[in-house]
Symmetry: C2
Subunit: 205 residues, 2 copies
């Protein structure tokens, strides 16, 4: 779960002397919202679509204004070996929607967006696997997960994903996705174990 | 893991006759990027900060233009009982950064943003729990997870999170976060089980 496995690469970039109009057109043509700015192949900034809003009071027209004037220069970058979790933390803490990815020479090798992390989230949650969703509650202590997992495995049902949702009052809520067409034997076996099933299926829609 | 547990509520909204300038000020004052538009307490649209960019060619100034003219009217909403996974899928498929949350009467009861989902992702990944991260590889078949989970539980180590990262060639990569100061006994026990540990710690930063 490293950035290098989930980033978009190669990445569309601009040079600092490109104009605001050119940057806008690049974003439109490629349906993207962020462009790393590179000079001599090294990262020096990033422009977001919102940086290209043109105030009606501006004296220089967008086809004469260089990107260097409107980019964010103090850009937060990650490397291909940054964990996806660290990348998500950086985006949240800095309220940014994209992180350029650089190698040891600060050459831009990719870009990771909030949308890429949403995709990882869906993968982690087993969405799109065709598996059935169940949510269970377990005591929040060592060994609590093992009997439930073993019981499901012993029924020959593959656990596509198991995710700890939240903790409250010494309990933990878990979402599992199971590769089976028939949840009934699993529900029966979990009930025999004394495991509470909070819900099955996909909520109300 | 339902929207109702993770949305922002109450939510700042505007009425359709509010001006673009007023909407901009609301976003600035509250440091937000999206405002649901409501009429007679019902959702009729949404405005994003980027909808409030003012083209220099516009004939009506922003303090005279009503929000109704620039909002997206065909708004995608969810309910408090929508799963977080479904909400993430909707954002990705429609390239939107926020979903208004409505009750049965289409009254707006909250808003869920991509940032809220990033927070759920971090919670699910056990980030901030102080737990240690290890990544392991297991065969992608029923019962493969049970011995590893049981072995860790039998050492008295609580599994804070376990997440299936990706599948390849019949193998699955999993990220676990373990509530322990000393990973060594776990690594030894997993090695004895024949479980491959891909990495420990937080990547390169």
């Amino acid at each position: 779960m490293l950035v290098g496995e989930h980033m978009t690469s190669p990445v569309i970039t601009v040079e600092p002397h490109a104009t605001v109009s050119q940057a806008r057109k690049l974003m439109q043509d490629h349906d993207i919202r962020h462009l790393p700015v590179i000079e001599h192949a090294r990262l020096i900034g990033i422009v977001a679509r919102s940086d290209l809003n043109w105030p009606s009071a501006a004296k220089v027209p967008p086809d004469a204004m260089p990107v260097a004037e409107v980019m964010s220069g103090n850009v937060i970058a990650v490397t291909p070996r940054t964990t996806i979790e660290n990348a998500a933390s950086l985006m949240l803490a800095n309220k940014i929607g994209a992180l350029p990815v650089v190698d040891e020479e600060e050459h831009v090798v990719g870009i990771l967006t909030a949308a890429d992390i949403l995709s990882v989230f869906l993968e982690v949650m087993g969405v799109g696997s065709g598996a059935r969703r169940i949510e269970i509650r377990l005591p929040d202590r060592p060994g609590a997960l093992a009997p439930a997992v073993q019981c499901i495995g012993s029924l020959g049902v593959n656990i596509v994903s198991v995710v700890s949702a939240r903790e409250q009052d010494g309990w933990r809520s878990l979402v599992l996705r199971l590769a089976t067409d028939d949840l009934e034997p699993v529900l029966t076996a979990l009930a025999d174990l004394g495991v509470e099933v909070v819900s099955t299926g996909e909520g109300d829609d």
